[in-house]
């Protein structure tokens, strides 16, 4: 049964190939069916694998298709490695991916380039699966770059708009900076440990010198930071919302953006050797989480609210990784994939219903026209805000908050930042709900389609029940998720909870409920709009990072390119040529065509030669 593993990436890849080559000759319906179906089959394969795993866990399963290249001990293969962590990722990627594909079949139904859309989407799923199943770092890098490429192509999908293409370029380039750090990390790890196989690296990691471990972990972190839009490489994510909404849901919320989390969790053996970098991970996560939450609060564009929210939630996962709470991070990744995909898909319906309007301040009262979407988004927002005891978001967030204090690497101030972020999260989530669905009603087209309601429904259910797989100890400690992942991801050493756990649990609940309450007061009762100045403006523009990078990096580079444009080195050769021409001018002036002049020169030469004889 596990030998079917190779189908998981191959099916979407085949979908891509068919769509890219012969798709032009096929009708739109067939193209759509191909695009959705290939991912659906991949999801089915994943489910089969999961069922097989549940029946008889093999520990880990490795499948080598062929040797990619082999030079000495540098021998990455096209090899897939399935373990519990990879399986969780695989299920989420293909499962959520399939739901989003179904939704996209509705969302993109009128787009003339639907074939191209599904080709890119299928390629993305294939690459993401390669990423999570990769057995060695070069193959992981292949998937890593592949998803980056698809992200680029899909952000710039509507290429006629120059702004979209610019956003796509920005996303690719900024993540590429991180990718370069990642590949240098790969070089370093091979140079130190003599292998690129991930499991072998993890096994050999304790043999690293502290300096090498720190460098390697820092470089890997660089890659993760770029892909997951964390400080200081976070600026691309809000602009990436230029892509179609299913893209935002799949790539920029559920899967690709969390690849950094996966990378760090996958390579945790290296990170545990580098405590300094672990702290850096936690701090980066915490700061990003807080800053992004503030920005989300000030956004007017519906999708940008969700983008900053994603950034903030991924920051929370990073904080979890930084304190060693690997399982909690992956848990939050999973629940986040459910509710954030749900939110994005719902937001897509809203935008569609309003004819492309994305400004939340111009929306309102939509719960009458779009009741189904209202409920779906409400569930999503509740889960995002961590509504106590019934939503998945509550349990995953609480696990992180709890460990951020009580884990050995945790600290009260990390918890405090997390708690405050959770509060802000509730505020902005319900600001969105209240502004969009309550208040005075605006004109909208109702949407009724199974391709919308089924994915939304499934995701809504998952957003609720997805949390009951890892309950805190005080609520019974039912934790099959942690048990499942334990062979791969160790539990962090932690202090004994006891009553303290109850207190923290209550605090989380308070943050969530308090945030919702504040949102109700501010936005449901009064419909406060943030002013376009001061702090709100600063937050809305993402804390001014774009302007800063423009000034520090982009403009100097453009200046440099402009200065060098005509190849400064060539000036030297042109100078050389000019000198030659000048000498030529002098010499050709001597060549004046007069016979007597030549004869005179001859005589002068004779005089000189004889003079030599005379003086000798």
């Amino acid at each position: 049964m596990f030998s079917l593993l190779w189908l998981a990436p191959t099916l979407p890849l085949a979908g891509f190939l068919i769509l890219a080559t012969v798709g032009a000759r096929l009708p739109r319906r067939v193209n759509t069916a191909l695009g959705v179906g290939s991912v659906g089959l991949a999801a089915l394969v994943s489910l089969l694998l999961a069922a097989a795993w549940a029946a008889a866990p093999p520990g880990a399963y490795t499948q080598t298709l062929w040797t990619w290249l082999h030079v000495g001990t540098f021998a990455p293969g096209i090899t897939f490695y399935l373990d519990p962590l990879a399986l969780v990722m695989l299920l989420v990627v293909t499962g959520v991916g399939f739901l989003i594909h179904v939704y996209a079949a509705w969302y993109m139904q009128d787009d003339p380039s639907i074939r191209r859309f599904f080709a890119y989407m299928n390629l993305f799923v294939a690459m993401m699966v390669v990423l999570v199943l990769a057995d060695n770092l070069p193959l992981l890098y292949l998937g890593w770059e592949g998803v980056g490429l698809c992200s680029y192509l899909l952000i710039g999908f509507w290429y006629r708009e120059p702004g979209n293409v610019k956003a796509a370029m920005k996303a690719f380039l900024i993540t590429r900076i991180g990718d370069t750090a990642l590949i240098i990390g790969l070089f370093l790890l091979f140079a130190q440990l003599g292998t690129v196989q991930i499991q072998a690296l993890l096994a050999a990691a304790p043999g690293l010198t502290p300096a090498a471990a720190t460098w390697a972990a820092a470089l890997l972190l660089g890659g993760a930071v770029g892909k997951s839009a964390q400080l200081p490489l976070q600026t691309w994510l809000p602009d990436a919302m230029a892509g179609p909404t299913p893209v935002s849901a799949l790539i920029h919320a559920a899967t690709m953006v969390t690849a950094g989390v996966y990378l760090i969790a996958r390579m945790h053996g290296i990170f545990t050797q580098a405590p300094g970098v672990m702290t850096a991970v936690a701090v980066i996560g915490a700061v990003t989480m807080l800053m992004a939450a503030c920005s989300a609060l000030a956004q007017r564009d519906l999708k940008r609210v969700l983008a900053y929210s994603t950034m903030s939630q991924v920051g929370m996962m990073f904080m979890a990784l930084g304190v060693g709470a690997w399982t909690a991070a992956i848990f939050h990744f999973m629940t986040h994939a459910f509710f954030k995909a749900l939110l994005f898909l719902g937001a897509g319906v809203v935008i569609h219903a309003l004819g492309g309007e994305q400004d939340v301040t111009k929306m309102g009262g939509l719960r009458k026209t779009l009741p189904g979407v209202y409920w779906a988004l409400l569930i999503g927002a509740l889960s995002l805000a961590g509504f106590p005891f019934v939503t998945a978001g509550f349990y995953s967030k609480d696990a992180i908050l709890y460990l951020s204090w009580t884990a050995a690497r945790g600290a009260p101030w990390l918890w405090a930042l997390g708690w405050f972020t959770a509060f802000l999260t509730a505020v902005y989530a319900f600001r969105m709900i209240f502004l969009v669905f309550h208040g005075p009603a605006v004109q909208a087209h109702p949407v009724r389609d199974a391709r919308v309601s089924v994915p939304l429904g499934i995701l809504a259910v998952l957003s609720v029940i997805g949390g009951f797989v890892l309950l805190p100890r005080v609520l019974g400690g039912f934790a099959p998720f942690a048990a499942f992942l334990r062979p791969v991801l160790p539990e962090p050493p932690q202090r004994d909870g006891g009553i303290f756990e109850v207190v923290l649990l209550a605090a989380s609940a308070v943050a969530s409920l308090g945030g919702i309450g504040v949102a109700y007061l501010l936005f449901a009762r009064r419909r406060t709009t943030s002013p376009d100045a001061g702090l709100a403006r600063f937050w809305r523009q993402g804390w001014g990072f774009d302007a800063l990078y423009d000034r520090l990096v982009v403009h100097p580079y453009l200046w440099l390119a402009q200065e060098c444009r005509h190849d400064v080195v060539d000036a030297f050769y042109h100078g050389l040529a000019d000198v030659c021409l000048m000498l030529n001018g002098w010499l050709s002036a001597l060549q004046n065509g007069r016979v007597r002049w030549y004869a005179g020169a001859l005589v002068a030469g004779a005089v000189l030669l004889l003079a030599l004889l005379v003086w000798r």
């Binding site: 070069p138 292949l142 770059e145 290429y159 060098c564 190849d567």
Partner: protein, 492 residues
């Protein structure tokens, strides 16, 4: 004997193609195509029937030529040379196909020059006598000069002269170095010979003059490669050459520089080259970054592609002067992959120029709407240029950088910045040409079938190199190891 055939096929094919012009240009084109396909077929045949295994020299052919001076007609073939000969065959076919419609004047003479250039290049890859090497070097250059000067674009005369002056000066350095080497060896060991293997058995070591001889050998090939700051002939030549000329230049002529460094400069002067490595590595990193920055700054599409070549050849130089097998195998892959992908990019520019009658990217835009297939194909090669994993260039650069990192981590890290800069220019090019609102007054048909076929072949080969380069690596390994096996022994 079969080695001689590899050179003679294009040589005679060229004459025949010229002569066949009296039966019409179609005859000429078909003769040229048959000759290149035949050469490719022979090379592929050698590869197919070779049993594999560890032996270094696959074939050897030696006849005396001018025995008084120790000059012989010595041809030999190892796996490394074979791969480059195969590349020559592929690029040859591509360049004949690429000029199928573009070249309309003096068709016979054009194909004569094209095939003789190919013959010269093949000869360089097979010659193991320095004198013969130099003869082939010249056979390559002169027809190329005509290709640029007669069939080039608007500033072709300038570009052709610049090309010729640079490469001829480089050839002069090569000649001086060769003669100096031969005479020094003759003076020290009383063996007057131009034979590569005999010279290899008489190492000069750290003999004082050897430093200058090595410099001569280095400069000659560094101009050809080209290494910054000796590169300025390349943008002009690439820009002004006809499509087939650009494809040849990028696909093959630059490879000759790398080949020369790997086959001659380093094995003949191992100690001095090692001492020289820091300078060469610095030049390599400079080339990678400088080429990428300048590529981004260009508005002429061909010039842009030309500067990307400079950037990529920086990786080649970096790998060569890292002195280890991994980097050298990476260089081999880069040579093959860059030949294909840059050659294809030039074909694409040619197609584009044919459609929109300009190479100025500020006057293009939104072409995707008009020519989606062309866009998709170009996207592929732009991605190959920026080093996307799974495509040939990446495998080469990965091995080069990893190999370099083992011995010179700092240079490898600096060179890795090229990944970032290369994505800037590649995406910028895509954006200016294909995305954005469609430019007005641009009528663009999509690709024709034979153009698709050419590019599809290049795509298939690039993917092969990117996903399963192992056959190439195995083929090249013994030869590369042999070149690296210096008195001190190469780093594994």
């Amino acid at each position: 004997m079969i080695l001689l055939a590899l050179i003679l096929i294009p040589l005679l094919g060229g004459l025949l193609a010229w002569w066949a012009e009296r039966f019409g240009t179609r005859a000429t084109r078909w003769v040229a195509l048959v000759a290149t396909v035949l050469q490719l077929g022979v090379a592929a045949g050698i590869w197919a029937v070779h049993p594999g295994g560890g032996q270094t020299w696959w074939l050897d052919y030696a006849r005396p030529w001018i025995p008084q001076f120790g000059i012989g007609l010595h041809l030999a073939l190892d796996g490394f040379s074979l791969l480059l000969v195969l590349l020559t065959g592929v690029i040859g076919v591509l360049s004949v196909a690429a000029s199928w419609e573009g070249i309309t004047v003096k068709v016979g003479f054009f194909h004569f020059n094209l095939l003789w250039t190919l013959a010269g290049i093949t000869g360089i890859f097979l010659s193991f006598d320095l004198f013969l090497f130099y003869v082939c070097w010249e056979v390559m250059l002169v027809p190329l000069y005509f290709l640029i000067d007669v069939w080039g674009h608007e500033e072709r005369h300038f570009a052709a002269k610049k090309f010729f002056i640079f490469t001829q000066t480089a050839g002069l350095f090569l000649l001086l170095g060769m003669l100096g080497l031969v005479l020094t060896v003759a003076a020290r060991f009383h063996v007057l010979t131009f034979d590569y293997f005999t010279l290899m058995q008489h190492p000069l070591g750290l003999y004082p003059l050897a430093r200058w001889l090595m410099l001569g050998f280095f400069l000659a090939f560094a101009v050809k490669l080209p290494a910054v700051p000796l590169h300025t002939w390349l943008p002009d030549a690439h820009t002004q050459a006809p499509v087939a000329g650009s494809v040849d230049l990028a696909g093959l002529v630059l490879k000759v520089g790398a080949y020369g460094l790997m086959r001659l400069t380093l094995p003949l002067f191992p100690e001095i080259s090692r001492a020289f490595a820091p300078i060469a590595l610095t030049l390599a990193v400079l080339g990678i970054l400088y080429g990428a920055v300048l590529a981004f700054a260009q508005t002429d599409l061909k010039r842009l592609v030309a500067y990307t070549s400079i950037s990529h050849m920086g990786f080649v130089l970096l790998g060569i002067f890292s002195f280890n097998t991994m980097a050298w195998l990476g260089v081999t892959i880069i040579l093959l992959a860059h030949g294909l992908s840059t050659g294809a990019l030039f074909i694409f520019v040619g197609i584009l120029n044919d459609r929109v009658k300009t190479r100025d990217i500020t006057r293009m835009g939104g072409l995707w709407a008009r020519a989606p297939i062309l866009g998709g194909l170009t996207l592929f090669f732009a991605l190959a240029a920026l080093g996307l994993p799974g495509l040939g260039t990446f495998v080469g650069e990965l091995l080069v950088l990893q190999g370099t990192f083992l011995v010179q981590p700092l240079f490898a890290v600096l060179a890795s910045l090229g990944f970032i800069l290369s994505s800037i220019y590649a995406l910028w090019m895509l954006q200016r040409v294909f995305f954005g609102p469609p430019a007005p007054h641009v009528e663009a048909r999509d690709v024709k079938p034979h153009e698709t076929a050419m590019l599809a072949a290049a795509i298939a080969l690039t993917l092969w190199l990117g996903l399963y380069p192992q056959p190439m690596l195995d083929t090249a390994r013994a030869g590369v190891a042999q070149m690296l096996s210096t008195p001190e022994g190469g780093t594994p």
